[in-house]
Amino acid sequence: MNGLTGFFPLGLVTNGLMGAFPPGLVTGAVYALLAMGLVLIYKATRVPNFAYGAMATFVGFFHYSLVTGKRYAINVHLLYVRLHLHAQPRLPFWGAMPVSLIVAGLLGLVIERLVIRPFAKAPAVTLIIVTLALATVLSAITQQLFGANDLIVASRNAIFPRTVALSVVGVKVSYEQAGVIVLVVALAAAVFAFFRFTSTGLAIRAVATDRDVASLLGVSSRQLSIVSWLGGSMVAGLAGIALASLLVTSNPNLLLTLTIKGFAAAIIGGMTSFPIAVAAGFAIGVVEELTRHLFPRFAGAPEVVTLGAVIIVLSLRPSWIFRGIRDDQDSGVTAGGGAPTSALAKRIDPAEAFRVLRAAVPLDGPVMCALGRWRWVIPAALVALAVGFPLLPLPSFWALAANLTVIDLLVVLSFVVLIGWLGQISVAQGAFIAVGGAGTVVCAHVVHLPFPLPVFGAVLFSIPVSVLVGLPALRLRGLHLVIATLAFGLAAQTALLPRFSASTRVVIPSLLNSDGAKYEFSLLFAALAFALAWRVSTTRIGRSFRALRDSEIVASAYGIRPVRTKLTGFVLSGGIAALAGALLTYQLGSVSTVYGSVFFSITWLSQSVVAGITSIAGPVIGALLFGLYPQLTQGSVSASHLSFLPEAVAGALTIVIMAINPEGLASMSRFVRSRVSAFSTEDDELLAIEAATEAATAPLPEDERELVNT
């Protein structure tokens, strides 16, 4: 930039602003490309595909491994047979393109068949959790197959040459950048034409307008689902390839971040309008670049702007935004009552399984009786084990693993409070870990509070943030709320974490000089948080949460205030997560960037769902299963052999659990019992009617007769 013009503020502004347009359009093209595929799938199937970025990453990694000629080798040792299979396929960029797109299409078909179809009639919230879980599975598979390192696309493998093509307002634009913009616009035009002029496109529009009427008119929603997943997944593949080239690098986390922006654009288009979604994608890109130019020193400014834009647009509720969206009346979080909706669950009959089990294992009689009487032994033993853990003669890294497990426990608890009890699905819990960490640092080193107080300070610190996150929830639910909270999480991740992580270190007080002491310290606070949550769940506050989760309308008809109840839940949940953040900061000595990321929040969400999102036992199961176990198994493994299997398994389990029993492992036994008793309700019903008849016809007792007379 010219030094002289830079001297004048006006010159700086205009120059800066104009200069922001070309890169803004490039970024916008990225968002538009992602938004397009999201809309394509949502329009036909009403599935908000949060796995979209992961699908794109998978195809991107696959494509460039084909272009660079990655070597695949499998060694099989089976008794005397020794097989060594290896292949090193290699194709030029455009030669690999059809192969990659076919793989993308196949991936879409497999996902549609295995993951989406079983949930055809599930509530929106279930689909959100399922596709988020799918995202973690796909990312883990990608990293397992193609390596944990970021993908780097060399210039010779770029989609279009990276040489300068033209210069716009003093900004150099490469063939690659211009090419991608043209590609996106052309693709948008093609997709738009597809919807306008083909019968399949018309059918999808019909389904998007009214599902039931469309199916009555003979439109097969299953066929459309297949077509849209095929197409949507190919667009995702193309996006994955083009983006990796354009950004030079790619990894699952990056694509997830970008997908959130894509969702922001798609949601502004009401999840159904291609032109608005594409335009919004470009607009968000340009606005972000402008912000970057205006506030060059403010890391995360673009994300904050996107977040603000999304929340403002959603809160203004222009009519088109809600036209194509399915807005479930209730929260959709399942918690007992009624049969499961998915096809898979109908095929598996837990009642039958339970009977078979009872027949096979003769547990009746004295064994069960003894188990019933000594029921308290197991929890008591667990508590004793938890408290005495550091005293056990174990390798030293166990104490660290145990402490991180306690922190895991708190995060899952915060999910349980917010999603399981209150029915508000938020993916911003990681942000609260960041807030808790930042609060600790501020309280300890800016306000100079003496040692245990910064922990409380961090929790207090989180209250206004909770209210801020909770405010959109007063007007939004389901998909809109998830996207608003994702945008918030992203803003916190980019704007808050870098400020507090690397540079600021918390001085660890002498009391916490060992990992064992840190563990006991965390355990004490976790116990307090659990006691609080348990009291809340069994009293008036918890009941109002659950009433609101089941039906906001009915709850308010009985005098429960939705606004106050929701904010209470957000504050409670945010406080617990911030507590986890504070404890984590004392463990690590600084604010963790990993734990505060959106990506981590999503993994945690999956784990919470598997463990049991509605039950207070869920966090314990979740922390042991997904916190302690992987840390112990990985503690002895070197970083280069990191396995992504635990994440993949947790994600896959989430999907299976959602299909069988959305309440998770913690309530499996109750679930089975309810299915068994479902068979014997018919007799009871007749009895109830008789009882009601009797009650109604019985003469009034004395005291009530007086009531009538007065």
């Binding site: 007992g336 008036r540 009941r543 009433a547 089941d550 709850a555 308010s556 109830a688 009617i689 008849t693």
Partner: protein, 260 residues
């Protein structure tokens, strides 16, 4: 405690259609008033206006109790519930995952005035007494509607008939002074409908509440109402004694679609 309801000139429009076109009538304290009318007459819309789930574009809805008169329009549903307006829904709605007894406790949320967040969590300052009180109340109403044996079942597992009873129990538990019942007999078997009339009378007597009830089952509504309000096309056609309203020429015409 008794409540008198006065509705004046309530208007609701859906696009160009007037769902309520200046509807108005009064309900005397302690009366059971039935609302009849063909589908689309605006009965449920009017009930939604009274309970706060729909905002009328014009008109006033006033509730007079021993504590004085209040204008209901413009207040959110939860506030009306606190002022003593209780309602049931046409499609029998309750908290589907909560066991009936828990639902009954949740419904009495507002009655637990001594149980703020801190007091609830610590179980101090009357919070325990509140809990005991609402629990006793829940058992009482469960017995009143004959659901004691089903108290631990979640609402989502109940049949429509039992769900109706549970919903009635819930709304009785909050001790409304004005009870709004939207088609309590819809979706339940004939045998249950016959038991419903005496049960509703009994509940009204128990509460001493003013009751406004929408019902299509003529024998039921004739047997329990002190007076009837007939509606058609968003207006009140006539009000008065049940026999008079039923035989009113305009009521017959709106029902049968012929000039009587």
């Amino acid at each position: 405690m008794t409540a008198k309801l006065t509705i004046e000139g309530v208007e609701v429009r859906f696009g160009g259609v007037a769902a309520l076109d200046g509807a108005g009538f009064g309900v005397e304290a302690g009366q059971i008033v039935g609302m009849i009318g063909p589908n689309g007459a605006g009965k449920t819309t009017l009930m939604d206006c009274i309970s706060g789930f729909r905002r009328p574009s014009a008109g006033s809805i006033r509730l007079e109790t021993d504590n004085g008169a209040v204008e209901l329009c413009g207040r959110p549903p939860w506030e009306r519930a606190r002022l003593g307006v209780g309602r049931t829904f046409q499609n029998a709605r309750l908290f589907r995952s909560l066991p009936i007894r828990t639902s009954l406790l949740a419904c009495q949320h507002d009655r637990m005035r001594r149980s703020g967040f801190v007091r609830s969590v610590l179980g101090i300052g009357g919070a325990r007494a509140d809990e005991a009180e609402v629990a006793a109340r829940a058992d009482e109403v469960l017995e009143l509607v004959g659901l004691t044996t089903h108290a631990d079942k979640p609402a989502g597992e109940l049949s429509t008939g039992m769900l109706r009873l549970a919903e009635l129990a819930s709304v009785v538990a909050i001790r409304p002074t004005l009870l709004l019942l939207d088609e309590p007999s819809s979706g339940i078997a004939q045998k249950e409908t016959e038991a419903l009339g005496p049960l509703l009378r009994r509940l009204a007597a128990y509460l001493g509440a003013t009751v406004l009830i929408i019902e299509h089952d003529m024998p039921l509504i004739m047997s329990i109402s002190d007076s009837l309000v007939a509606m058609a096309a968003g207006r009140v056609i006539t009000t008065g004694r049940p026999e008079d309203v039923r035989n009113h020429p305009e009521v017959l015409r709106s029902y049968l679609g012929q000039s009587a």
